[in-house]
Structure formats: structure tokens, C-alpha cells
């Protein structure tokens, strides 16, 4: 069996907009553009030798005051080859939007809803993009860095009224 890193590097080199990046703990990692990541993930899933068929997680991060502001991370796993890999996609702060991967992995449904709920990144083509952990009608995106940790916001549980201290 050839080294999986060489195979991954060869696959990534064949796709525009995908580049290898270093990882702190040595997992194969890639940075992809918003237009190339979906095709890359599809190739990884369908490749007969690699078989990255298991989606471990999708999550976001906020680089507040920097552009591109959001980073969406995908972590895929190949059960046959016992290998994980990470794909980061940078998303601009103005109208953040990405293509959905629910067509490739049904499990992405709730994970993408959570990223939308917490960061406000929209996933185009998602079957039901609504809030999941916060309630419908909640304003703001709690995990953005400019969302306050404490506060006295009307409409939230524990609201103390005008002039109240949280």
C-alpha cells in the first residue's frame, strides 16, 4: 500500500484552489477555496483507493477583524485506511455563503445548521437551513467574537428589564 500522504498530495495537486497546509499534530491538512472544496470532498469520498466516506465534523471559527473572517473546517475519515484529514475553507465576512455537502453526507445536515446558527454562515442548497440550538427568532450569532459573553438582551431568558444588570 502506497503512502496515503503521497496519494492525497497527488489528488490535491490535480484540483485548482486546493493546497496542502501544515498541521500542528501532523494530520494531512488542506486549504480550499469556496469554489473548489465541494469537488475536492466529492473526489475524496468517491476515490476507490482512499474512500473518505465518514464525515467527522463541520465547524466554524471567527477571525474577528481579519479578512476573510470565517474559517469553516471539515474533518473527513477513511475507515478502511484509518486516516483523518482536515479541510479548511475561508469564507468572507460580507454575506458568508458556502455550498452544502448534505448531498454527499446526510450527517452534514445538523452540523451545517449549527454552523449557520452560531456563525451565520449560509449553506446554499441546504434542505432546511434553520436555527438548531438557539430558538427561531433569536437575533445574532452567539459564537461570533463580537457577540458579548454577558449581557442583558431583550427577548432572552433571564432578561432583567431596562437598566438591569446581568
Amino acid at each position: 500500500m502506497t503512502d496515503i500522504r503521497t496519494e492525497l498530495a497527488a489528488l490535491a495537486a490535480g484540483i485548482d484552489g486546493v493546497e496542502s497546509i501544515d498541521d500542528l499534530r501532523g494530520d494531512p491538512s488542506f486549504r480550499a477555496t469556496t469554489s473548489s472544496f465541494h469537488g475536492f470532498i466529492q473526489r475524496l469520498r468517491d476515490d476507490e483507493a482512499l474512500r473518505f466516506t465518514f464525515l467527522v465534523l463541520i465547524t466554524g471559527a471567527d477571525n474577528y477583524l481579519d479578512e476573510p473572517r470565517f474559517d469553516v473546517t471539515y474533518r473527513l475519515r477513511s475507515l478502511e485506511r484509518n486516516q483523518d484529514l482536515r479541510i479548511n475553507v475561508a469564507v468572507p465576512g460580507e454575506e458568508p455563503e458556502l455550498a452544502t455537502v448534505t448531498d454527499l453526507f446526510p450527517t452534514a445536515n445538523w452540523l451545517e445548521r449549527e454552523v449557520y446558527d452560531m456563525f451565520g454562515v449560509r449553506f446554499s442548497g441546504h434542505p432546511n437551513l434553520t436555527r438548531i440550538l438557539m430558538w427561531e427568532g433569536f437575533e445574532g450569532y452567539p459564537l461570533r467574537k463580537d457577540y458579548p459573553l454577558l449581557g442583558n438582551t431583550p427577548g432572552t431568558p433571564g432578561y432583567l428589564g431596562k437598566g438591569g444588570k446581568a
Partner: protein, 402 residues
């Protein structure tokens, strides 16, 4: 039961009057605050939409303003049926980020903690599952055994539920005197108890009727839906992080991965029963070869000094002060570590910009991801099957909603 399903599917042109039923958030069989919106045709479920988030406490937001040690008590409230296993998963993930190894005795103690939690969590999962489909006796028997485990956990950590036992670089304190003998006494009588659960259920006509061929998830579906833990193994996928990605020295213990054949509720039940036996095997091996030595790394930039020395020595006082106020220094970068918890893969994704506070922490909670598959399992089944399926998925809302 399959004939009932066919009746629904064979008359699409008839006008269908579907009834919408809210199950939860306070329904006892939903094991917490889960709400299911069921669309019913008579007594048959046509569609199901789980509504989660009632127990959301914003743990990930809170973690961003906390040092690594400060977050440990929050993990007690994730999967509150196996707090020790959550402590171990979090701390091991933090050590993976910082890049440190812990001494062999600390590793063995953590394995012991995880497997004790697994037995306790599976006992509750099994007991509650059995009670939901009407077998009250098994529930009481399971709780009797869990009581012993809680006493043991209280001996190690001083608390029965909110343990917060692990520290970055090791554990809070060494095992108390005579603990291993107490644990051995429990382990020695436990296989007999498992046998009695099996006698009550495995060939019980009612139990088989309620669980066989119900809530079937195939191998491919289980992988596509990202299931982990006994739910994945019940569907016939041989995947266990303890074997495939050994951590904490799991490679030195001899145990098997039980897998199911069909992927129905009965298979998931059998997997849990077998995992109880495997955990017992691991615990026996841990007790037999418990290594000596320290329970914390000797790096004073990582683990807290002894309290008695802090009050007398200058160096220890400085280290204590720095560790409490600034925390352990993590390198900038991203890391992910997943641990095989009773419910599945509990993973912690860290994104650090250096220093003692994570810039972002994501909890990959197995209950959240496993629950997503519920609509697939319940479609075309009776309402009473929904209860059995919920029991067999074995989720905890504290972990699901974070």
C-alpha cells in the same frame, strides 16, 4: 408489522389526513428535553422531526474565556451518565493539543475511569431501554449495580456525579488505599449480573418482538449518517477508536470489538451487553498490571505543584500562580482528538492562537450526531416503536445540546 407498512405505502391516491403529535419535551421516554414532532397516519409515523436545543448552555462560547483546567467541570455536565469518561476525553484532547505525554500510572487510572464509566452508562442505557418497553425488573437490577459503581467513583474523586477528576498532565490525586480490592470485588461478581440481564431479555419473547427488525440502519447508512459507538458497531461496522487509534495505552489490553449483524434495536442491545463484558475484561487487566510511579507529569509548567509545597517554596508558589492565572501554554494551531466514550466518539476540536485560552473549541458530541438518524429509523413504524428506538440509540441531551 411489515404488512402495516405496506398498507400505508399502497394507497397514495387516497386523501390522507395526517395528525401532528408533539412528543416531548417533557415525555419521560425521551430521556431528557427532546421534542419530537411526529406526523401520524393513524398510529403509524409518516414523518418525524427531532427538535433539540432545550438544554443549550453555550459551553463552546464559555470555553473561549477559560483556561484548560477551568473547563473540566463543564464536561461533567455533557454526558452526565459518564462524567469521568468526559473528563478523560477532554484532558487527553488538551494534552494532544499541548503535546505532552503522561506517566503510565496516570494512563492506567484513566483507562480504569473510562471503563468504569462505560459500564455505568451502558447499565443505565440498558435499564432505561428495558423500562421503556416494559421490563421494569432489569431497570432496578441495573440501578443496583450502578450504585456500587457510584460508590467506587466517590472513593476516587470525592463526588458521585460531578467528578472533575482529571488534570492536564495526569489526574487530581492517586487512587485511595484499598480501592483496587474494592473494584476487584465488584468486577468478580459482575459477569454473573450480566448473565442475569441476558437471561431476562435475550430470549424473552416480548423483548424480541419489541426490538427485532425495528429501527434498522444498514452498514452504509450508519457510515453516511456519521454514527459512532455501539450504534455504528451494531450496524456491523468494525470501528473502535480504542483499537484503531489507541490512546492511553489501550493497545496493551486484550479485548474484542463486538459487532451486530442487522443493525436493529436488538443488535444494538447485544452490542452494549457484549461491551459490558469487554469492559470487565479490560478492568481486570488494569487491576492486574497497575503500574507504580507518579500520577502527574513532573513538568512544573504543566501540572500543579503539591499544595503543601506551595505554602513553603518560592518556585512552587510561582508555578501555582502562573498555572492558575494563565494556564498551560498551548502552541498556536488546530488539533482534534476523539475518544471512544460510552455513547460514541466524543471529540474535542481546538483552535489555539497560543497561550492558555483556546480561541475556539468545538465539542463533537456523539449524541447530537447519532440522534440525527432517528427520522430514518422511525418512518413507517408505530408510535410505540419510537419509544423502543429512542431507547436503543441511547443519547443524552446534556451532551447533545451542549
Amino acid at each position: 408489522m411489515t404488512t402495516q407498512v405496506d398498507i400505508v405505502l399502497d394507497r397514495p391516491e387516497q386523501p390522507q389526513e395526517h395528525q401532528v403529535l408533539n412528543m416531548g419535551p417533557q415525555h419521560p421516554s425521551t430521556h431528557g428535553v427532546l421534542r419530537l414532532v411526529l406526523e401520524l397516519d393513524g398510529e403509524i409515523v409518516v414523518n418525524c422531526e427531532p427538535v433539540v436545543g432545550y438544554l443549550h448552555r453555550g459551553m463552546e462560547k464559555l470555553a473561549e474565556s477559560m483556561t484548560f483546567h477551568m473547563f473540566t467541570p463543564y464536561t461533567d455536565r455533557l454526558d452526565y451518565l459518564a462524567p469521568l469518561a468526559n473528563n478523560v476525553a477532554l484532558t487527553t484532547a488538551q494534552e494532544h493539543l499541548i503535546g505532552i505525554e503522561i506517566p503510565p500510572r496516570a494512563q492506567a487510572i484513566r483507562v480504569l475511569c473510562t471503563e468504569m464509566s462505560r459500564i455505568s452508562a451502558h447499565l443505565l442505557g440498558l435499564g432505561a431501554f428495558a423500562m421503556d418497553v416494559g421490563a421494569m425488573t432489569v431497570f432496578l437490577w441495573c440501578f443496583r449495580e450502578r450504585e456500587t459503581i457510584y460508590n467506587l467513583i466517590e472513593h476516587i474523586s470525592g463526588a458521585r456525579f460531578t467528578t472533575s477528576y482529571t488534570r492536564v498532565g495526569g489526574v487530581a490525586n492517586d487512587l485511595p488505599d484499598g480501592f483496587l480490592d474494592e473494584l476487584k470485588a465488584f468486577i468478580d461478581q459482575f459477569p454473573e449480573q450480566i448473565e442475569s440481564f441476558e437471561k431476562m431479555l435475550s430470549r424473552n419473547r416480548i423483548w424480541i418482538d419489541r426490538t427485532k427488525d425495528i429501527g434498522v440502519v444498514t452498514k452504509d447508512e450508519a457510515i453516511a449518517w456519521g454514527l459512532t459507538g455501539p450504534n455504528l458497531r451494531g450496524a456491523g461496522v468494525e470501528w473502535d477508536l480504542r483499537v484503531h487509534r489507541p490512546y492511553l495505552g489501550y493497545e496493551t489490553y486484550d479485548f474484542d470489538i463486538p459487532i451486530g449483524a442487522v443493525g436493529d434495536c436488538y443488535d444494538r442491545y447485544l452490542c452494549r451487553i457484549e461491551e459490558l463484558k469487554e469492559s470487565t475484561k479490560i478492568l481486570q487487566q488494569v487491576i492486574a498490571k497497575m503500574p507504580g510511579g507518579p500520577v502527574n507529569t513532573q513538568d512544573s509548567k504543566i501540572s500543579l505543584p503539591e499544595k503543601s509545597k506551595v505554602l513553603q517554596g518560592m518556585d512552587e508558589l510561582i508555578h501555582q500562580f502562573i498555572l492558575i492565572t494563565e494556564g498551560q501554554d498551548a502552541p498556536p494551531g488546530e488539533s482534534y482528538f476523539g475518544a471512544e466514550n460510552p455513547k460514541g466518539e466524543l471529540g474535542f476540536y481546538f483552535r489555539s492562537k497560543g497561550g492558555g485560552y483556546p480561541d475556539r473549541m468545538f465539542i463533537r458530541s456523539p449524541s447530537f450526531i447519532n440522534l440525527q438518524v432517528l427520522p430514518l429509523m422511525v418512518k413507517g413504524r408505530y408510535i410505540s416503536d419510537v419509544v423502543a428506538i429512542l431507547g436503543s440509540i441511547d443519547f443524552v441531551m446534556g451532551e447533545c445540546d451542549r
